[in-house]
């Protein structure tokens, strides 16, 4: 099993942290973000406005520290921006704003908005005949509580929206849980699904590239609830 944890990003995270303690939500997304940006997403700082780029939509906008650290590490934003994150002159809020941060596709923070925006993005790309780019939306298992997600899951499944991947980081934080697993909410609506160890980079890579081009795909990345 390949796990890099956050060693490479640790100094950048420290710059974002500025002495604050981060909750589990920050660390639970780091491995997924690394695999996405290093091995899956066709996007670079030079292609953030390319209509044929892959789209990554961070729906759980509070998981932003690792996101900013990674965007800085990969050259999307200057590393110096991390130092005053959340400050009055900063472009990096506690939730991201797409109009302020290069490479950020959506402004998020209120839970349950990313998947609907992702469905619309996938439909727009399809209407334009762009068959290359794929839309990835990162959610949390507690975020699935919001009913808007289930509107999007049902519709995308029923219409076979094949250029859409949802990633659910499952750190067991949903107050009432998802008996039978989060993936079952998707598969019953016709999605393909893979549930993997959210720290295992190779397993994540296989899952994130395991879509069949005929229907939407979900990857449930499970991590310890203490993480």
């Amino acid at each position: 099993m390949t796990t890099t944890t956050a060693t490479e990003l640790a100094p950048l995270l420290d710059r974002v942290r500025a002495g604050r303690e981060f909750g589990p939500n920050v660390y639970s997304t780091l491995d997924v973000l690394q695999v996405l940006y290093d091995r899956v997403l066709r996007i670079t700082p030079a292609t953030v406005d390319d209509p044929d780029r892959d789209r990554f939509l961070l729906s759980k906008g509070h998981a932003v520290a690792g996101y900013y650290a990674l965007l800085a590490a990969r050259g999307f934003v200057p590393v110096e921006w991390l130092d005053d994150q959340g400050g009055p002159a900063s472009r990096l809020g506690d939730h991201p704003d797409r109009t302020l941060v290069p490479g950020v596709e959506i402004g998020s923070g209120s839970l349950g908005h990313g998947l609907g925006l992702g469905v619309g993005t996938a439909l727009g790309l399809r209407a334009q005949g762009r068959t290359t780019p794929r839309v990835y939306v990162l959610l949390g298992d507690a975020e699935l509580d919001e009913g808007s997600n289930h509107e999007a899951v049902a519709y995308a499944g029923a219409t076979g929206l094949a250029n859409l991947t949802a990633i659910v980081v499952d750190n067991h934080s949903a107050t009432h849980g998802w008996p039978g697993g989060a993936a079952s909410r998707f598969t019953v609506n016709g999605w393909s699904a893979a549930t993997v160890d959210g720290r295992d980079h190779d397993a994540l890579h296989r899952a994130l590239t395991g879509h069949d081009h005929h229907r939407p795909h979900v990857v449930v990345a499970t991590v310890d609830s203490e993480e």
Partner: protein, 298 residues
């Protein structure tokens, strides 16, 4: 035979779908009317089912890819149910859409409170940068919709089964329909309230101006026409434009009477004409309010 605003909307939306940028987003309402268009443009007529949150989210995502969404349902489902999606999935993302509501305040009076939408314009008015069109005649719908779709910002078209007898396609700014001369009280009628308003002040020296675009409100036109007394007649929540008029005339002593639909859930059915009467928006009710405001005509 004249068509309805809704029919004009369907016809015009089919026209603008010829532009590959346009996408129609539905939540079952009017889906049957758009079936031919959907057969023509399967990727650009999207019916998400009865899912209004998704309808607006999809519009936001489409706009992020450069498409121009036209989103349609009954006003309360379009604006009230998915208000946060309108705020965040459009406004906060920095993208626009054209929202087309039907049902207005109480077109579907017999359906009861669930299908009434008198607060829609007030809700949209909490957001920045929106244009609101309230056509008063079916012939005003096509040019308004075409212009809105050609733009890039967000616009709300509020369609109704209520209509004036005369169409004024060029009435974004205040258009004087009846001129009582300098210094006369000014009545501004929005959308389908014009006929009743004209009737109500027929025997009074009141200047009547009409607009089908309450946002952005024509404040320059208002300042040019207004004397010391201004009467607003709006077909949605009473007072919706009070803020705009008061700010525009802040440097002048003036009195303002703002008429429109009341806030109370009347828990009554009937037809839209009944609700006009109950809210004082029929000619007789408007006349009573104007008499009380200006004093009885001599």
């Amino acid at each position: 035979m004249t068509t309805t605003m809704r029919e004009e909307f369907v016809r015009t939306a089919e026209e603008v779908l010829a532009d590959p940028r346009s996408v129609l987003v539905l939540a079952d309402i009017s889906a049957a009317a758009f079936a031919p268009a959907a057969a023509h443009h399967p990727d650009r007529v999207v019916n998400v089912g009865i899912r209004e949150q998704l309808m607006i989210g999809v519009a936001g995502g489409l706009a992020l890819t450069g498409q121009r969404p036209i989103v349609h349902s009954y006003a309360p489902f379009l604006v009230e149910r998915a208000y946060e999606q309108i705020k965040l999935d459009l406004g906060h993302q920095g993208v626009g859409a054209v929202l087309v509501g039907i049902g207005a305040s109480y077109d579907r009076a017999a359906s009861g409170r669930t299908h009434l939408g008198p607060a829609d314009v007030a809700l949209i008015d909490t957001l920045d940068g929106w244009t609101v069109h309230v056509p008063g005649h079916p012939d005003e719908v096509r040019p308004l919709l075409r212009a809105a779709v050609c733009g890039s910002g967000s616009a709300y078209l509020r369609l109704s089964t209520r209509s004036n007898t005369t169409a004024y396609p060029e009435a974004g700014g205040l258009r004087v329909v009846r001129d009582a001369g300098p210094g006369a009280p000014l009545l501004v009628a929005v959308g389908p309230t014009l006929d009743a308003a004209l009737d109500a002040v027929a025997d009074r020296p009141v200047t009547v101006a009409y607009t089908h675009r309450p946002r952005p409100f024509d404040t320059a036109g208002l300042r040019a026409l207004a004397g010391a007394e201004v009467i607003l007649v709006e077909p949605y929540l009473a007072g919706t434009s009070t803020r705009v008029v008061s700010e525009a005339l802040a440097d002048r002593p003036h009195r303002l009477l703002a008429l429109g639909v009341g806030r109370a859930d009347l828990r009554r059915y009937g037809g839209p004409e009944d609700h006009d009467r109950w809210h004082g928006l029929d000619a007789a009710g408007l006349r009573r309010s104007v008499d009380a405001f200006l004093g009885s005509p001599t």
